[in-house]
């Protein structure tokens, strides 16, 4: 497996040498699945609320899954491409969020626009932090048990 790298800023940007058919397929397949899930959520969930519940669910789940991959230490290589870049990137959307906020402020609904910003930030960061912490803890416990048994 070709390894990605974390940049000096901690970015999840991949290394320069990993573009090939497998890595492209990993990104595309993950993104298509994520996008279809987001499209489905948009169709299923009543989106009349000010906080944009369908997109809130998609962005929160995407941040949660990314937190799990970080907790597993799977933020490098093909898994990171398929799950982090593809699935989570396709599932979550920044542009739809921006347009909803801009429409709220444009319509004079300042409280709704502020609620939209805060709801997505609080839910997204909370989901990421919780998922990463729980996954790291579970991983330590499992690794400890395996080591004890061994």
């Amino acid at each position: 497996m070709s390894a990605g790298r974390r940049t000096s800023s901690g970015s999840v940007a991949p290394s320069a040498g990993e573009v090939n058919g497998v890595s492209i397929a990993a990104v595309v397949v993950g993104a298509v699945i994520g996008s279809i899930v987001r499209w489905t959520l948009d169709s299923w969930i009543d989106d009349d609320s000010a906080i944009g519940p369908a997109l809130l669910v998609a962005n929160t789940i995407g941040a949660f899954i990314l937190g799990v991959t970080f907790g597993l230490g799977a933020d490098d290589g093909r898994r990171r491409l398929a799950v982090g870049v593809g699935l989570c990137g396709g599932l979550t959307s920044f542009s739809a969020w921006s347009v909803m906020i801009a429409e709220a402020f444009e319509g004079g609904h300042t409280a709704d626009g502020t609620a939209l910003i805060l709801a997505h930030l609080v839910a997204g960061f909370s989901a990421f932090i919780a998922a990463r912490a729980v996954t790291r803890r579970a991983r330590r416990i499992l690794v400890g048990e395996v080591g004890h048994l061994g």
Partner: protein, 109 residues
């Protein structure tokens, strides 16, 4: 037609985002910032489209081109490395410039 176009659009958007992230060598998330701002502007313009093009362009292509989760992951990575100023600037800048671009797109659309 729409499902096929949607799949193609989502794949193309994700690959363009991946390319932008790879092209950025600054370590300051400028590639992701650029695609998020660009996608926000075009999404504002695209509100004037009717279905099925609105679904294909806005939900498929622009939804996959932009990303919320990567912003969260990058900010958390910056904070873990105690790069608080970069984290705050990146997050606040993404929101302010992204929403501003979306607003401009809405006005022009």
């Amino acid at each position: 037609m729409t499902p096929v176009a949607f799949v193609l659009a989502a794949g193309a958007g994700a690959l363009l985002r991946w390319w932008a992230a790879r092209a950025d060598r600054t370590g300051r998330h400028l590639g992701i910032l650029a695609v998020n701002v660009l996608a926000s502007f075009v999404a504002g313009l695209a509100t004037s489209l009717d279905d099925p093009w609105r679904t294909v362009v806005s939900v498929g292509f622009l939804g996959a081109l932009s990303t919320f989760s990567t912003v969260v992951g990058d900010v958390m990575g910056d904070l873990a490395q105690e790069r608080r100023t970069l984290a705050a600037t990146y997050l606040a800048g993404s929101i302010v410039v992204g929403v501003g671009a979306a607003w401009l797109g809405l006005r022009l659309g």
